[in-house]
């Protein structure tokens, strides 16, 4: 077997090798096996964005050619001037730079809500996942709370907590916490029983095992949880701001909707998207720093 193999290799010397290599690189692979090079991936990833941008530019220029004061599809120049006005020209009434005031107000609400939800999810999730008595006591409640639509609670929150910041932050926290609690609890319950048994043979008690085994092990999952929760959190934030607020990104969008100010709405949506993408990226970096073991370096 071996001898025949070497025989083929010898026969394939010189130009033969080149021909074989060429035919190998030309081989038609199944779709699922045909990988994409780095540059190719970049190109493919950019294409949809370019397609959307071109479609928009085309439609916008068509409409503006017919009616220069059309408000539905403003040109990039119009959007940029409206956006930079909001970012750099102080508001006549309040003297604030509106974009930054809105961003600051919204991000404080978002991070306060998600932060509270994260703390609750971590403490309750670990307790439910790790301690059978707490699980028996709280898991049914959490399971039920999970299926309540948070927006249905919004009127209750406004009535009970007033129209201020507390109600908005509570809505965000209530909206994302239950799912996070369940997710963390599940992750803790999925810990290999071998690891828990081993920690006990090394002298760990319930509390020190939480500190040295459970918390480090759920940390990557917790960060993933926060990343997934940020989507719904933005939804609840904008909903709350649309209904009762005097500043904030969601408030601004719903305010200028009355004037059909697409030149403000579209850049605001893009700005929110940018903020969300940056938060997500920061969380991924954070996970790499806190739990390097969960992100082994890829060789490729």
């Amino acid at each position: 077997m071996l001898a025949r193999g070497t025989g083929i290799m010898q026969a394939a010397a010189g130009p033969e090798v080149a021909r074989l290599q060429l035919s190998r690189s030309k081989a038609r692979l199944r779709l699922i096996n045909a990988t994409v090079s780095r540059g190719g991936a970049l190109l493919l990833g950019t294409l949809p964005f370019a397609a959307v941008a071109i479609a928009y530019l085309f439609a916008s220029s068509q409409r503006l050619a017919v009616n220069p004061s059309d408000k539905l599809l403003p040109s990039p120049a119009q959007m940029w001037s409206a956006f930079s006005d909001l970012a750099t020209v102080p508001d006549k009434r309040s003297g604030d730079l509106i974009l930054w005031a809105d961003t600051y107000a919204s991000l404080i609400r978002l991070f306060a809500g998600v932060g509270m939800a994260t703390l609750v999810a971590l403490s309750l999730g670990v307790a439910i996942g790790f301690i059978p008595r707490v699980r028996a006591f709280l898991l049914p409640l959490v399971t039920v709370v999970c299926v309540i639509p948070p927006l249905a609670l919004l009127p209750i929150l406004f009535i009970a907590l007033g129209l201020g910041e507390t109600a908005k932050i509570t809505l965000i926290a209530l909206g994302v916490a239950p799912v996070m609690v369940r997710d963390i609890a599940n992750r803790v319950m999925e810990l290999p029983p071998e690891l828990v048994a081993k920690a006990q043979t090394l002298g760990g008690n319930s509390w020190t095992m939480v500190l040295r085994l459970v918390l480090p092990q759920v940390m990557p999952r917790l960060i993933t949880c926060v990343r997934l929760a940020l989507g719904p959190a933005w939804l609840f934030l904008i909903a709350a701001e649309a209904i009762a607020s005097t500043e904030g990104l969601g408030y601004r969008i719903f305010l200028v909707r009355r004037y059909l100010s697409m030149d403000v709405i579209l850049p605001y949506v893009a700005w929110i998207t940018l903020l969300a993408v940056m938060t997500d990226w920061l969380l991924v970096r954070l996970s790499h720093i806190i739990s390097p073991w969960a992100h082994p370096v890829r060789t490729r």
Partner: protein, 269 residues
């Protein structure tokens, strides 16, 4: 370092009986090899010794007290999988032992005690040949290295009884022989009582001072899970006069192994 006494041990899951009438008594410092067909309950027996599972009947005594029904530092364990903590480097895995033992509410020792723990851990890493891997995470270690680390970690806990659940089952034959030497050396040094579950008959005879075979003696063809396994064969081995090939063949036939030739070859060497 402690004797083990098991009397009338039974274990059932619902209607299915896994173990019945298991009686063993082992002196301190013995090395018990448990063999048996897959699913015969030898791993269940080990988990009961560990305290991870509770027996349905009978008593288990380690030293002179019945065992606590949860894992304790009295009994150390090395599993085949998940044998070390993946979120800690090799050195941190070993430091964790002292952290758990005397780290108080923070689960961490500080200052001079950390220093001495570190020294002890580094000596142990060198001892098992992992000095170069101290700052690597288990995911980047080979299977053999992970098991070395697991054994080192368990020994740092200074258990009276060392339990091994197919510790070398996933390793290459060459690595496995290395691990046998390491384990024999450490066992001679520390002198603890060892209970090892294995599929490899050769390994059982090579390492053990006693080979116990788990098998069912009663069968109900209508209801196969009506009866559980028990110890059907208990062979004391002498360190000086190794087991004869006939003994090995006999045990292998009981277990129904297909690796008989390799088993005899390993023991004969």
């Amino acid at each position: 370092m402690s004797r083990i006494l098991v009397h009338g041990l039974e274990k059932s899951y619902g209607d299915a009986r896994v173990l019945e009438r298991v009686n063993v008594s082992a002196e301190a410092g013995e090395f018990l090899s448990l063999v048996g067909a897959s699913g015969c309950g030898k791993s269940t027996f080990l988990r009961i010794l560990l305290g991870q599972e509770q027996q349905s009947g009978g008593v288990v005594v380690v030293g002179d007290q019945p065992i606590v029904p949860e894992p304790t530092p009295q009994r150390g364990i090395v599993f085949q999988r998940y044998s070390v903590f993946p979120h800690l480097t090799a050195l941190q895995n070993l430091l964790l032992v002292e952290d758990f033992r005397s780290g108080g509410p923070f689960g961490r020792v500080f200052g001079a005690r950390r220093k001495s723990a570190r020294q002890e851990a580094e000596t142990m890493l060198e001892r098992v040949g992992l000095g170069h891997a101290r700052d690597l995470y288990p995911a980047t270690l080979s299977g053999g290295m992970q098991q070395r680390l697991a054994i080192a970690q368990t020994l740092l806990g200074r258990p009276q009884i060392l339990l091994l659940d197919e510790p070398f089952g996933a390793l290459d034959p060459g690595i496995r022989i290395e691990m046998h030497e390491l384990l024999t050396e450490l066992w001679t040094e520390h002198g603890m009582t060892v209970v090892m579950v294995t599929h490899d008959i050769g390994e059982a005879f090579k390492l053990g001072t006693r080979v116990l075979v788990f098998d069912k003696v009663r069968h109900d063809p209508q209801f196969p899970s009506a009866y559980g396994a028990t110890i059907t064969y208990d062979l004391k081995l002498d360190r000086k006069h190794r087991a004869s090939a006939r003994d090995v063949a006999e045990v292998a036939a009981m277990v129904g192994t297909t690796r008989l030739d390799s088993a005899i070859a390993t023991t004969a060497s």
